[in-house]
């Protein structure tokens, strides 16, 4: 069941996924029989209370942790499943981390060029050229030669996304990337991300707490239950693309938020009562 090689579709199929941790000899079930289908080129938003296991799913797809049961397929090929508990890390699924993981010891340009250089896809000079071009496209042309410690977090996060996109990945995995930002910076980040998406149409698996962010950016929103993680509700976002901030005040948007917020709130209360410690 192979997709035609021309399509970089990046469709993910998660089937009956289960993950059990074993800290200190007491089993903790993080994910319980979770299934979802993410279409190629789709922006899939995962919303849920803290510590419910959303990051576990991301870790499983990215190949950071193993799984205990079920399987995950990428474009029909098995990433991990019975007999292959952990997915191999490869540059087709790239992660953008919560607290940012740009290498502090390299400039932004070097960071972005890192992927192509290390995968031997481009010679160093060419990779750096391409990196500078892409950074400029994202509005970071003037800071390309600075270190991550010297630029604002907004710039750093954008650069990290560029670092991922330069490798033409099938899937972009984002773990609450804008969590630590103020609302003004966030809105710029959103527009930047939408713009990058419109250009590349890369599949995105985006974890967030923020329901409005989810509906603004996403094609489909999955509301997850508290631990153990299962899909509680799926919302299809029919807002047309390209989107801009005017969407936020539209009637359709408000309705979508209303439809989903009750489900999210229910789970949030459950999580709060359970006194979940952040599974950060």
């Amino acid at each position: 069941m192979q997709n035609p090689p021309a399509a970089r579709s990046g469709a993910i199929s998660i089937r009956h996924l289960t993950k059990i941790y074993d800290p200190e000899g007491v089993n903790v079930m993080a994910v319980d029989d979770c299934s979802m289908e993410i279409g190629g080129g789709e922006v899939c938003m995962i919303v849920g209370p803290s510590g419910c296991g959303k990051t576990t799913l991301l870790n499983a797809i990215a190949g950071f942790h193993s799984i205990t049961g079920g399987e995950i397929l990428l474009d029909g090929e098995l990433l991990c499943g019975p007999g292959k508990p952990i997915a191999k890390q490869a540059a087709d699924r790239i992660v953008v981390f919560q607290n940012g993981a740009l290498f502090p010891w390299m400039t932004l340009a070097d960071n972005v060029a890192y992927g192509p250089i290390v995968q031997r896809r481009m010679p160093k000079k060419q990779a750096l050229e391409r990196a500078r071009v892409m950074l400029a496209e994202a509005g970071l042309g003037s800071v390309a030669e600075k270190f991550p410690g010297e630029v604002s977090s907004g710039m750093a996060r954008r650069a990290e996304i560029v670092r991922a996109l330069i490798n033409d990945p099938k899937v972009l995995l984002l773990d609450e990337p804008y969590r630590a930002m103020d609302a003004l910076t966030k809105s710029i980040m959103h527009e930047s991300l939408l713009e990058m998406y419109d250009r590349t149409k890369v599949t995105m698996y985006f974890i967030t707490h923020d329901l409005e962010e989810a509906i603004f950016l996403g094609d489909r929103v999955y509301v997850m239950t508290t631990r153990p993680c299962r899909v509680k509700k799926v919302l299809h976002v029919n807002l047309p693309r390209p989107r801009d901030y005017h969407v936020l005040s539209s009637e359709q948007f408000r309705l979508l938020v209303e439809e989903t917020s009750e489900a999210v709130h229910e789970e949030a209360i459950k999580a709060f009562r359970a006194g979940e410690r952040e599974l950060a």
Binding site: A62, G63, P104, V118, Q119, A164
Partner: protein, 292 residues
């Protein structure tokens, strides 16, 4: 761009020279440097007062600042040691050479070892217990053994300094690797790096801050051990100078030796720190941006 007053010069980024001038003015307009000079002066004053002017009971046996300085800087020193005496530089050179060998050896072994220990749990499992068993033994306890195992004067002394340095360097390097945020490893992995590339591009630069802290500590520890070893069994070297001056009851070279030792020790640590700053440009610039 300001649209208010066109006559106002367009703001430009401050040049290095302007910043320097600004900083100098700022420093001298505060009480800082004056108090500092006062502190040094007061200390020297009391030193002189107790040892020379008043000649208090036990203080008089120690040479005061004027005695020391007059000998140190004279062409014909009363007690035989000054900056014009060739022997002085021989002592300095011998000690520094030993330190250099010990330090380089300890770094060449300790840094790679520490990197591998932090990087691979298996390596750590095999090597850490041995290290931790030997580490509590103070370096001085090794002196007789070192004299036994190695012949001559040089090798035991260098061995002791190297051993002391080695523990500090290895441990700090290992901690440095362990302190690297997991996310960097994962990011490098999902960008398609091989294990070796992760080692080169994440482990080594990531551990560098800790490595240099460790190197500064190791430099200090090396001097400490060297001086002790030179005193116990040595010929030439600043530690030996201090002890032999004491034995021969010439106290001025003793103090000269101490002060020289302090200066050279400080200078070598400063060199290491400077080297670290050069290699870790990103850190210096990030800290500067945060206003430190």
């Amino acid at each position: 761009m300001s649209a208010i007053a066109p006559s106002l010069a367009r703001p430009t980024a401050p040049t290095g020279l302007m910043m320097l001038r600004h900083r100098i003015i700022k420093t001298f307009s505060s009480s800082g440097p004056y108090l500092m000079l006062l502190g040094i002066f007061t200390w020297l004053f009391f030193y002189w007062l107790f040892c020379e002017a008043l000649s208090l009971p036990r203080f008089e046996k120690l040479p005061g600042p004027i005695t020391v300085l007059s000998d140190w800087l004279s062409r014909d020193p009363a007690q035989g040691m000054s900056i014009f005496v060739r022997e002085y530089y021989v002592h300095i050179f011998v000690s520094c050479r030993r330190i250099l060998i010990a330090f380089l050896l300890a770094t060449a072994v300790g840094v790679p070892l520490g990197l591998f220990m932090g990087w691979s749990k298996v390596v750590k499992d095999y090597t850490f217990p041995i290290l931790e068993t030997l580490r509590p033994i103070p370096i001085m306890a090794w002196v007789p053994l070192a004299i036994l195992m190695f012949s001559g004067y040089e090798t035991p002394v260098i061995f002791l300094a190297t051993l002391a340095s080695l523990f500090a360097t290895t441990l700090n390097t290992m901690l440095g690797v362990q302190s690297i945020d997991e996310s960097y490893f994962r990011a490098a992995g999902c960008l398609g790096s091989s294990r070796w590339e992760i080692f080169r591009h994440v482990v080594v630069p990531g551990a560098l801050p800790f490595i240099f802290t460790g190197l500064q500590i190791s430099m200090g520890v090396a001097w400490f051990s060297l001086v002790a070893a030179e005193m116990v069994s040595g010929d030439f070297g600043l530690g030996y100078l201090i002890l032999s001056s004491y034995v021969n009851s010439v106290t001025v070279p003793m103090v000269i030796g101490m002060l020289t030792l302090g200066f050279v020790g400080w200078f070598s640590s400063a060199l290491v720190r400077l080297l670290g700053d050069r290699l870790m440009q990103w850190r210096v610039r990030a800290l500067a941006t945060q206003g430190r």
